[in-house]
Amino acid sequence: MVQIAMATGFILILMGLYGALTNHNILRIIVSFSVANTGVNIILVAVGYMHGRTAPILNEAVPVAEAAARIIDPVPQALVLTAIVIGLGITTLMLAFAYKLYERKGTLDISKFSELKW
């Protein structure tokens, strides 16, 4: 189970990166990175997962005393939330940049934005 999730995550990352590194269109690049980010998030969650346990919320099913034996690791859950939000922030920013770049040149081909070089 964990292995599958993790493999999925890694594959998503590789796919995302492949897309990001080969597509010329900026929007596609952004989307590809989103895919890769998703892959990372899946891995984060997968690392926290423990077989046969439940979500780290104390309720009737999980009394405080037994919590340590019943819940999965809560830390990656917390981390993934942060990671998602940050990923979102960067994606938004890239989109806004992409918009301005398009406005300037009328193209979204990344290879056209290479005046700064060497």
């Binding site: 690392v47 942060t82 934005f113 070089k117």
Partner: protein, 1057 residues
């Protein structure tokens, strides 16, 4: 003590508060921004005070009322305090600097700035790896935002490239973090570091690798740094200052440092390798740059690489770690920020456009201080740091690392000083009239921007003082000569007359004060350096006005020389060496066309200095204050290497053949009174070094080759080729310069003979060469000043116009050529006696042949300038100015005195030297009894020689005068000329290519092989640089691929380790 968390709280709170302010309350917003930055700075400063002065210890700050590792904690120690100050101050000053842009963009931009600074502080403070990630992302996003401040349209694409990279980085970092968490069960750096090493193997080490590489990427390592260069090039300079000084130079490297606690020792080599590669490669590629900000970007990458390399050497640095890393880091931060701030004043982006700074001494001083800081020159912190670093590396036998660091430093210094040459020497760009409207002005001197730059300047000197205090050695600022030299910076506004008088008085007074401390050898050198310098300075009275920049540089050189003579340990020796190098470089650069020559001078000198540094470091083997006398006790396997390094280093200064190409241009193009200083005085510093070296280390063998024997050959070759090249010069000052090379060859040869007479001869050369070369340079300089050219064939017949100069040259050339009765003969006489007692014969041949060759160029010098046909343009010429003539006349007198009573000086030295050669098989020194000087082989009595010759001469002269008492001087063209009269002197003055037949016969020997070698080398470096920088295609995607490749390749290498 204010809780450290308030630094973050204030940053954040102010950022949020800014959102509340109305759009048009910009003043309030700006005041809030500055206010919060100031209070953040105050907190950091207070803590620094606590740690540094009050002796406080590191403090842990918990959040959420829970102890780590269960909640995030921050740590405040002295390193953090310093870095926070750097970060916040760079932010504060940049905020002041770009106030106009911030006003334009409003509160949002200010809050982004605040968040940026806050995030960097967070990176420094936090002890939690995930928190580190969050702060990094904040910094990344804020960077993208701050790029928009730039007026450069390309900043947008640079920002986008950076975002792409940061996506990759965050992927790597997160993977690394989560698996690290998995194996260690914690996110707290210290807890993870405490976990047993076994867990960090396998997947743990892989996870760590991902974290490390991600954080390293933020430090912009070569080659995964194209995006960073684009940012540096396009961003607002004030942001680049922060980006370089605070983000890469402080926060990112400190994050690496923290992470290495987890990875442990085994990862240090990786960081070292990446750092060194960046340092060398970035500085190499920078050679081919023309854009100023991009150049600074490359330099930034390089410096951060150096800091990384230092971090990678942490295992051996011990207690010095903070001192060394801090010295380099702070130097980089202040200097780079300062340079970026200066670049903001300048309207155009080519390096040569910086020439607009020329009229602004304070800005030039700033620029110089900054590049000196970057190059690791004294008295700046990077100098102390580099010194300690090199010492330790040599002790620990990490010589490759040492070599790469020095190579990178040399490359960096080359383009920085080349740039400085542009500033002083290139044509000031002119604003086209029709372009005025749509282009920014060439130089905009905005008061608040200047304030920012000058505060960086003040900081740089403050740090220099501080590091002097912290170092294990004396603070260089307490050296009287240096203070004296620096005080001339404050006197720049007064006239030459006063400054010159002060300078002369100071030098003479210092000599008098120190006189009792000198031993005889030191007296000779000190007298030449200080008194000799004072005599040459007399000539400087001929300049009017204020002569800005001359006195600080000249005095810096003399301060270095004065300190060199009395230096007892390697540190002071080296510091003095650097001072005199820098001072003389500035002086040489003052010449009209001296830009390329001054550059090659400084590059060769620094290269030589690095060799010396390495030599000392190898010799010291960790001893903190390494006494120069202890060179004698250096153990066998390294002793010859130490000798080799030091000898080559010193021979660079004496312009031994192969390392000589800097000299002719540098000496020839310098100003009239500078040429004698650098030729007559400065060259002796190299000889002094060699004397110290040889006196202590004696003969050394490397692979069975006697090194002094090699030196003997080098000296002979130098004497021969130097003289030969002098023969074919058309330019009078170049001729003298080549002659200096030859003369130094003689002196080198004498030293390498390693017997008492050889040394005595070398000293004789030291004195003689000082006198006659200073005199000749002054005369020729005076003539060049009057005629407006240095090409000898354009002169001629000047004897009638400038008789005193003629006399000086005449006496000078008789002395140089060694013809009796003048003092040059003494040198030759001692020389013959010296070689008779030496067992080496073959190299003498070259010396024999070079003696007569000297006649050729000397005759040419006097003939083509003063004799022959006077040119029509020169008929109204006057004698050289009084102040230029005065020292020459002093020299004439000195030559006469020295010719008659050489024993006055030499006998003491002779007595002083004899103990050093007591054990050698060769027989002792000279016998100075009575009027005759006797050696084991022959004898010489200067006074009878002088008297006999004078009497014969006077009698014949009197007779001739008596006989021809009615003779009249005929007109210029009254000569036997095939029954025709030449009416133009040009056709009759046989001067150009004077020794044509000689060139036919011997010209094959002076093919410019050496010049070609160095030129090819330079060209090769530039070609490589130009080729490899194309690697940065400008395509954001390519940069990402490069980063990916970097990650994979580094891992593969890591596996290899």
């Amino acid at each position: 003590m204010v809780n450290v968390i308030f630094i973050i709280v204030i940053g954040l709170g102010a950022a949020f508060l800014l959102g509340l302010l109305r759009e048009n309350w910009r003043n309030a917003a700006y005041a809030l921004t500055i206010g919060s930055l100031v209070s953040m700075a105050w907190i950091a400063a207070r803590w620094l005070l606590f740690f540094a002065v009050e002796g406080g210890t590191t403090v842990e700050v918990f959040t959420a009322g829970t102890e780590p590792p269960f909640a995030i904690n921050l740590r405040m120690g002295i390193a953090e305090a310093v870095l926070l100050l750097v970060v916040i101050f760079s932010g504060l000053l940049s905020a002041v600097y770009m106030s106009k842009s911030l006003f334009r963009l409003g509160g949002r931009a200010m809050s982004v700035l605040l968040v940026f600074i806050m995030a960097l502080c967070g990176i420094i403070l936090t002890r939690d790896i995930f928190n580190l990630f969050v702060f990094f992302e904040l910094a990344v996003i804020a960077t993208a935002g701050l790029l928009l401040i730039s007026e450069n349209k390309q900043a947008l694409s640079a920002g986008f490239k950076y975002l792409i990279i940061s996506q990759l980085v965050s992927v790597f970092l997160l993977i690394g973090i989560i698996f690290t968490y998995h194996v260690s069960g914690s996110l707290n750096i210290d807890t993870i570091a405490g976990v047993s090493l076994d867990t960090m193997k396998g997947i743990g080490s892989l996870a760590f690798f991902f974290m490390l590489i991600a954080v390293l990427t933020e430090a912009k390592p070569f080659p995964a740094n194209g995006w960073a260069l684009d940012i540096y090039e396009s961003a607002h300079p004030a942001f680049s200052a922060m980006f370089s000084a605070a983000m890469a130079g402080s926060a990112a490297v400190y994050a690496v440092d923290k992470l290495l606690l987890i990875g442990g020792q085994q990862w240090l080599p990786v960081v070292t390798a990446i750092g060194l590669l960046s340092f060398v490669a970035a500085n190499l590629l920078a050679l081919a740059q023309t854009n100023d900000r991009r150049t600074l970007g490359y330099s930034s990458v390089g410096q951060v690489g150096l800091i990384l390399a230092v971090i990678g050497q942490r295992d051996i640095l011990g207690d010095n770690y903070l001192f060394i890393a801090g010295g380099i880091l702070l130097s980089h931060a202040v200097a780079k920020a300062g340079l970026y701030w200066i670049s903001g004043l300048i309207g155009q982006r080519n390096l040569t456009d910086w020439a607009v700074l020329r009229r602004h001494p304070m800005l030039i001083l700033s620029f110089v201080s900054f590049i000196a800081m970057l190059s690791g020159l004294p008295p700046f912190p990077s100098f102390y740091a580099k010194w300690d670093l090199v010492m330790i590396l040599a002790t620990e036998n990490r010589l490759w690392i040492l070599a790469f660091i020095l190579l990178g430093s040399l490359l960096e210094a080359s383009y920085l000083f080349r740039w400085f040459g542009y500033i002083l020497k290139r044509e000031t760009p002119r604003q086209e009239k029709n372009e005025v409207e749509n282009k920014s002005p060439l130089l905009s001197l905005v008061p608040h921007k200047l304030l920012v730059i000058f505060s960086a300047l003040a900081t740089s000197w403050g740090l220099a003082y501080l590091w002097g205090e912290l170092s294990a050695y004396d603070n260089l600022f307490y050296a009287l000569p240096l203070l004296f030299a620096l005080s001339f910076l404050l006197l720049e506004w007064v006239s030459v007359w006063i400054k010159n008088t002060l300078a002369i008085a100071g030098m003479v007074a210092y000599f008098v004060i120190s006189y009792p401390l000198y031993d005889p050898l030191q007296i000779i050198f000190a007298a030449i350096f200080l008194l000799g310098g004072a005599v040459i300075l007399l000539a400087s009275y001929h300049v009017h006005g204020r002569r800005i920049g001359f006195y600080p540089s000249a005095m810096l050189m003399f301060a270095g020389l004065a300190m060199l003579v009395v230096a007892e340990d390697s540190f002071h020796f080296f510091a003095a060496w650097e001072f005199l190098t820098i001072g003389s470089y500035f002086m040489i650069l003052r010449g009209k066309n001296s830009e390329p020559h001054a550059l090659s001078y400084i590059i060769f000198s620094l290269g030589g200095a690095f060799l010396i540094l390495t030599g000392f470091a190898l010799a010291a083997q960790g001893v903190v204050l390494f006494n120069l006398g202890s060179l004698a006790h250096v153990a066998a396997p390294i002793a010859p290497w130490v000798f080799l390094l030091l000898a080559i280093g010193f021979m660079t200064k004496t312009a031994a053949i192969g390392l000589h190409i800097w000299l002719p241009g540098a000496h020839a193009e310098a100003e009239t009174d500078v040429s004698p200083m650098v030729s007559g005085i400065l060259l002796k510093a190299g000889l002094f070094g060699l004397m110290v070296l040889l006196m202590n280390m004696g003969k050394q063998q490397l692979y069975g080759i006697e090194l002094t024997y090699v030196m003997l050959w080098i000296g002979a070759l130098t004497a021969f080729l130097g003289n030969l090249m002098a023969v074919f010069q058309e330019d009078a000052k170049r001729l003298l310069a080549y002659s200096s090379i030859g003369q130094m060859g003689y002196a080198l040869f004498g030293l390498a003979l390693m017997n008492q007479l050889g040394w005595l001869m070398a000293l004789m050369f030291v004195i003689n060469h000082y006198i006659y070369k200073s005199m000749l340079f002054l005369s020729v300089g005076g003539v060049a000043k009057r005629t407006g050219t240095r090409d000898m064939y354009k002169m001629g017949g000047l004897i009638a116009m400038m008789p005193l100069s003629f006399i000086a040259v005449l006496i000078g050339i008789i002395a140089v050529s060694g013809v009796p009765p003048l003092s040059g003969f003494g040198g030759r006489w001692i020389f013959y006696n010296a070689i008779l007692s030496s067992e080496y014969r073959l190299p003498m041949m070259l010396i024999f042949i070079s003696g007569p060759i000297a006649f050729l160029y000397l005759f040419r010098l006097i003939h083509t300038i003063f004799l022959g046909q006077l040119k029509d343009d020169h008929r109204q010429i006057k004698e050289a100015p009084f102040w230029i003539m005065l020292p020459q006349m002093i020299y004439v007198a000195a030559l006469m005195v020295f010719a008659v009573v050489p024993g006055l000086l030499l006998r003491h030295v002779d007595a002083y030297l004899s103990p050093f050669f007591a054990e050698s098989a060769a027989r002792g020194g000279l016998n100075w009894q009575g009027l005759t000087i006797t050696s084991d082989y022959g004898y010489w009595s200067p006074i009878p020689i002088m008297v006999i010759i004078a009497i014969i001469f006077a009698l014949l002269f009197a007779w001739l005068v008596f006989v021809n008492r009615k003779a009249q001087k005929v007109k210029q063209f009254n000569i036997v000329y095939s029954a025709e009269r030449p009416f133009r002197p040009e056709t009759t003055h046989f001067a150009w290519n004077f020794f044509a037949p000689y060139r036919k016969a011997m010209g094959f020997l002076i093919q410019p092989f050496v010049t070609r070698f160095w030129e090819t080398l330079t060209e090769l470096l530039h070609t490589i640089a130009d080729l490899f920088r194309r690697f940065y295609t400008g395509n954001g995607q390519t940069y990402a691929i490069q980063l990916l490749a970097f990650v994979v390749v580094v891992y593969l290498f890591r596996v290899e380790f």
